[in-house]
Amino acid sequence: MLRFFGSRLLRAAVTIVMVVTFAFIVLRLSGDPAQIIMGADAPPEAVDAFRTAWGLDQPVWLQYFHYFGAIFQGDLGRSMRDGRDAIVLVMERIPATLALTIPALLIKLGLGIPAGITAALHRNSFIDRAVMLMAVAGFTVPSFVLGLLLVLVFAVQLGWLPSGGQESWRHAILPIITMGVGGAAVLARFTRSAMLEVLGQPYIRTASAKGVPWRAVVWGHALPNAAIPTVTIVGFMVGSLIAGAVVVESVFSWPGVGRLLVVAVANRDLAVVQCILLLVAATMVTANLVVDLLYGLLDPRLRNQPKRATGAA
């Protein structure tokens, strides 16, 4: 178990370093922050002064060395836009993002999983087709289109809800629904597929043949076995809690981490972008680590798997 956990941790650390390194190089090769932040009309001496002040005139490898050196001292850099600590800027925005992504995650789980199970249990029926029709519609409509549609109906036409901003809880309703519906659709599809696969297994037939009530078969045998692929998807969703609302935050003018990321990327505010990516990578990697551990809990075969026994039953 310790070896399992240790190898996962090492892999997680390597992943985070790779993400941050990739972002560091790409951001520096794709535009000069001095020119972008100072604007097209900035006098050349102002641009040069800016570059010198932020060390942008140094070779990229030296900047990279300094950056990683600072990270290990707990310094994630300062925003080039307003001089504040990048981590402070990011942490200020996280509550706003979580105020959308956590309720949206609950909607995804609360709608998607029951819908997928219901569709699988009523395979090829009207219910199945109706659920899948809605699921396909839910995940094929891009979130910005769905968001705008909801705004047109509920804000512009009916005037029930605000179209954007973050002044009250009412402002959060439309963005939460926009994110929740798409994710629920994805979960419904995955849950249905997983359930159908499990329901076709011999042990389900055996349990039924032995006279186990159908409800008990579903709850006791089908659901735990169908949970593994669903947990994988849920893991991704949990991992994207911090930066999973980039599009929706822009559509609804919601000042969360997603908006900050868009602005920071557009301005090449390097420290802020890198700080967000570091947090996102860490969250995603942690979520995946937890999912890996959950696999072991959900499926005893994975827990007790001999070292080299792969594939053979």
Partner: protein, 535 residues
């Protein structure tokens, strides 16, 4: 006899005053949706030299010399009631008495000296050799390096400010400069409270809410979210007509328009021309706007092997039908200037100057003469950084194709990529704002010594540089006009640096029941006489 208690006696005046208080409070709070609140997350003018900053600057800060944005952008008395020339290098100004800052203090000559001293140049002085760092502003009062650089460019010849008395100051230049009044009228020259600066913990803390004299004071700022300004009732120009202005950042056009329709916003700024009819289909709203003091152009890189031949650049200029762009993309709601100049230049305006005419035959003749064989010319294009930029670029490419030119679009993400000195750099979009009515405030900000065109290596000319230097220090009007004509001849005829397309235009959507006029610039004006909400 009725008994009147002491408590009631005290309460009576308060009760009598209540209708007056209620009357004072019935001024409206207006919500204005904008694409961006601040580029730098501060409101210190030198760091906000773009349409974003120009829009709100005049609401909280003012200059000694004002600009009549609701008229023809001419210079008018601002915080100075009068000014006179003592000689070509010295300007004396009389300050308006009784002007109050938002902190309640009276503005004096000391504040002017501070505003053109430590606030702009830090400890370096207007001609100091060293430079502070950006990070210095987070812990000390030293302005960031870019503030000092912008200030030096704005006031290149400023030697010192002399305080004559409490309400009189002198600007002394190292060299003659007939445009000093115009330079003082720029937002960089805002007069801000010296004591508020002294009380602030750091330059950046101060820059987030500078204390000025404008009709509204900065009350609250949440970066990338909202900016709240409250009426400055002691404003020298009269009580502001709005109690509060609430600017909210809504990056998407659709969000701004939808919020206007749903009644959340009273104004929606930065409306592209193709959305004007969408807004005006709703009878409760209208779109105001007009051409502004900014000219859109296509800039050449003459270090490009194909474009090194001036005849090819001339051919490209003759191939563009500007009127088609104005009619199709701007619904005719902007104009084509006569070269890189605006009518607000006044005596410096050259009314007989013409753009190279649209003439495909002439374009083809020039290409034949230059022995152009269809070599590709790259056009680095940004995704609508400028309004209608992509559509305008695609139309231009087709116009060039009709003349026999092979121009290929290359999409870019930012200006740094567009101007990067990498193979293939050829044509790009650009614009030029005239920050006051003189050529030195327009084209000489883009072309000439120490400008972007020279820094990027796209265009430079020794003759042009000599002529522009002469224009900056010349004081005789006739001679200045000759020099300006010579500059335009070089840049638009002999050795083209760009193609003038049209003036930019700014459009603001608003509720029809709000009586308000849009300015002839980026500025939004909410002072007395320019805002009334119908009951």
């Amino acid at each position: 006899m009725t008994n009147i208690s002491r408590r009631a006696l005290f309460a009576a005046p308060t009760l009598l005053a209540m209708p007056a208080i209620a009357q004072g409070d019935d001024r409206p709070t207006l919500t204005i949706a904008v694409q961006k609140l601040s580029n730098s997350n501060t409101f210190e003018p030198p760091r906000e030299q773009s349409n974003v900053g120009f829009r709100i600057h005049g609401l909280y800060a003012e200059q000694l010399v004002g600009t009549n944005w609701l008229g023809n952008a001419d210079l008018v008395p601002g915080l100075a009631t009068a000014w006179r020339r003592r000689d070509a290098s010295t300007l004396e100004l009389t300050l308006r008495p009784g002007v109050r800052f938002h902190d309640g203090r009276e503005m004096t000559a000391e504040d002017v000296a501070f505003s053109f001293g430590a606030r702009l140049f830090g400890t370096q002085g207007s001609s100091g050799a060293g430079q502070s760092t950006v990070l210095a502003g987070t812990a000390t009062k030293e302005p960031p390096a870019e503030v000092i650089a912008v200030s030096r460019r704005t006031y290149p010849g400023l030697a010192r400010i002399e305080i004559v008395d409490r309400h009189t100051v002198r600007f002394v230049n190292r060299s003659p400069d007939v445009t000093l009044e115009g330079r003082i009228a720029q937002s960089v020259g805002a007069i801000l409270s010296r004591e508020a600066f002294a009380a602030a913990p750091s330059w950046l803390e101060w820059g987030r809410a500078p204390v000025g004299t404008g009709p509204y004071r900065i009350a609250e700022f949440r970066p990338d979210t909202a900016l709240v300004m409250e009426a400055h009732d002691a404003y020298w120009g009269g009580r502001p007509p709005a109690r509060r202005l609430r600017f909210v950042e809504v990056p998407e056009v659709s969000g701004r328009v939808n919020g206007l329709f749903s009644g959340e916003y009273d104004f929606a700024c930065d409306i592209p021309p193709d959305q004007i009819s969408v807004v005006e289909r709703n009878s409760r709203f209208e779109v105001l706007g007009s051409p502004i003091n900014n000219i859109r152009k296509l800039a050449f890189d003459k270090s490009n092997p194909v474009l090194a031949d001036a005849r090819i650049r001339r051919a490209m200029s003759h191939a563009i039908d500007r009127q088609v762009l104005v009619d199709t993309l701007w619904a005719g709601r902007t104009v084509i200037p006569r070269g890189m100049q605006l009518e607000s230049y006044g005596a410096m305006y050259l009314p007989d100057w013409e753009n190279p005419r649209f003439d495909l035959a002439e374009a083809r003749r020039l290409l034949r003469e230059a022995n152009y064989q269809g070599q590709p010319i790259t056009y680095r294009l940004l995704n609508n950084y400028y309004t209608n930029q992509v559509a305008s670029g695609q139309i231009a490419v087709e116009m060039w194709r009709a003349a026999g030119l092979n121009v290929q679009i290359e999409m870019m993400e930012n200006f740094a990529q567009v101007t990067a000195r990498t193979p293939g750099r050829g044509v790009r979009d650009w614009s030029n704002t005239s920050i006051f009515g003189d050529p030195v405030a327009g084209i000489l900000r883009s072309f000439g010594p120490r400008t972007e065109a020279e820094r990027t290596g796209e265009w430079s000319s020794a003759t042009f540089n000599e002529t522009s230097a002469a224009l900056e220090t010349e004081t005789d009007l006739t001679r200045r006009r000759e020099l300006f004509r010579r500059l335009l001849t070089i840049l638009e005829r002999e050795d083209p640096g760009y193609i003038v397309l049209h003036q930019a235009a700014a459009f603001t959507a608003k509720r029809k029941d709000i009586q308000w006029r849009a300015a002839k610039g980026w500025a939004m004006v909410f002072s007395q006489g320019n805002l009334r909400v119908r009951a």
